[in-house]
Symmetry: C2
Subunit: 318 residues, 2 copies
């Protein structure tokens, strides 16, 4: 029997005969999700697994486990291996960023091989809260909110629909489900996140917040992450593509309020400190076709300028 919160069917709106990739690490979350998907009658699942090369022999063991799991369900399996540590060194990026990049490139490769454009990930409600806090603590450069239950991502020329059907299901509920269904999974595969900040959020920050404010605080953070992720998604959708320059014609096509959001976002990406309403309005005076203003002072000795149909930032220290 399916636990009510583990939505049955777990992919609302997706027909059971659609070919769908499922990313399975071998940890409890993705092993349980695969079990639930099979149990709800999804027939054309493709199990994909990337060994990040960060856990040595344990990582190889995870791969073997997931391959066997797929065979038991009579599902096709695609395994891959990445050298995430090497990638991080070579590109001078964090292990976590390198891991994510390697993962998505692998998913894109699988999508091409299988001609499958839908990928299911096992992120759950606790992941959502941790991701949200993680983004907050890092300063909200990109993607302030949490993850979306449905997102479309273009990777290496492949447009992938990413579904996270368990974003509203808590870790504890998955654990109960796994226990009830007597699932076997790899103990270490789940929490292999190499990121210290994320581990601290999970092991120290969240318990402390719950202790100070009660358990409800986690749900409050979940709701905030959800709302903000939706807002961010829709804001991204209406904004001109991110870039150094902001095309004036694109701005003019937007309603005033969205012009403000677009300019605010653009100034933010240029690391402008203290973006006031007044500053945004002053920059916006360069937008109309008949505008005579072509230069606006920014903090730290920089300028926003209009020339050849685009706004750009120049001068000062970066």
């Amino acid at each position: 029997m399916m636990h009510p919160v583990l939505n049955s069917p777990p992919l609302p709106g997706v027909p059971r005969n659609r070919r769908v990739m499922v990313a399975v690490s071998g940890g409890i979350d993705s092993t349980a999700l695969l079990h639930a998907l099979v149990g709800s009658g999804f027939r054309k699942l493709v199990v994909v697994h990337l060994d990040h090369g960060l856990r040595g022999r344990a990582g190889a063991g995870d791969a073997v486990f997931v391959k066997k799991l797929a065979r038991r369900y009579a599902l096709p399996f695609i395994g891959g291996k990445a050298d995430v540590a090497g990638l991080a060194r070579a590109r001078k990026i964090s292990i976590e960023t390198a891991a994510r990049e390697a993962r998505y490139r692998f998913f894109a490769k699988c999508a091409r091989e299988t001609r499958c454009r839908t990928l299911v990930l096992a992120h759950h409600a606790d992941d959502q809260v941790e991701t949200f806090l993680f983004n907050l603590m890092r300063g909200g450069g990109t993607g302030m909110g949490g993850m979306r239950p449905r997102a479309v991502r273009a990777i290496d020329g492949v447009k992938l629909e990413i579904l996270r059907p368990w974003l509203g299901v808590w870790r504890m509920e998955i654990a109960e489900y796994a226990a009830r269904e007597k699932l076997r999974y790899r103990e270490d595969a789940t929490n292999a996140s190499p990121d210290h900040t994320r581990n601290r959020i999970r092991s120290r920050i969240l318990p402390m917040l719950a202790q100070e404010f009660g358990r409800a605080v986690t749900k409050a953070l979940w709701r905030a992450a959800d709302v903000l992720a939706a807002q961010q998604e829709w804001i991204d959708e209406v904004l001109p593509p991110a870039g150094d320059e902001l095309p004036v014609s694109g701005l003019r096509a937007l309603p005033e309020a969205l012009q403000r959001i677009a300019i605010h976002e653009w100034l933010r990406r240029h690391h402008t400190p203290q973006i006031s309403y007044r500053l945004v309005e002053t920059v916006r005076e360069m937008v109309p076709a008949e505008a005579t203003k072509a230069k606006v002072n920014l903090p730290a000795g920089r300028y926003a300028r209009r020339r050849a149909g685009v706004l750009f930032v120049e001068g000062g220290r970066r």
Copy 2:
């Protein structure tokens, strides 16, 4: 000499001869702000002070202090007294909500008396971070972001422009300024916040976050609060007025992405759990003039319906 971060002049864009009310509690922040405003040549300030009736004789002492301060600067003073505890009991609202309500009613009364439509508040960067976390912990029902440096609020029929010029200035910087200028202020007036959550955020949560992640985390939270407050403001600006019913014609006038934000916000206000992209899109199918769909299932046995040009929610438990 003015500290560079304590913006000089502290009200960018406001002419020095504009009549402006300044809310002064007698605590360090508002006492310093008043000093800075006078020092930057603002001539027509009106000092307003509300005794919340929560601090007994100390509150009366604050009022006397602020009145004398105004006299020293040769500025008009308006004092008021509220029974916040009684208001909270009578209206069954929290002390903090009652205090805010009493304060804004008092400000509106002062605005009418003085025919002054601009109010300056001394909220600073630490207040901003605390407010942001406070809203997050409470569940993001209303106003997810922080405060805005400029906001317009209608209270009791009075449209008040609220300026917070020090939202980017940290408590420590104000303390340094007050020490340098040898300002006298009431020690207790500032942190008289009756709210436990807010006190806990200040005294325990923020120090703990700084210890775990370094001092930069406070700045990161400040930036997040700032960006989200701006987004929320602009979203509120483009959305149809909040209400139980959502007029279809208002929705149709919006670009698609904003229709989604509006519907998401509306469903959220109706306490709809787990608002998926798909649900929003399904509700949106009722928007076009030629739509045949007039009923959409919501979680928990409720429905969104279209009738007589509006969308509304009915059924289920609330």
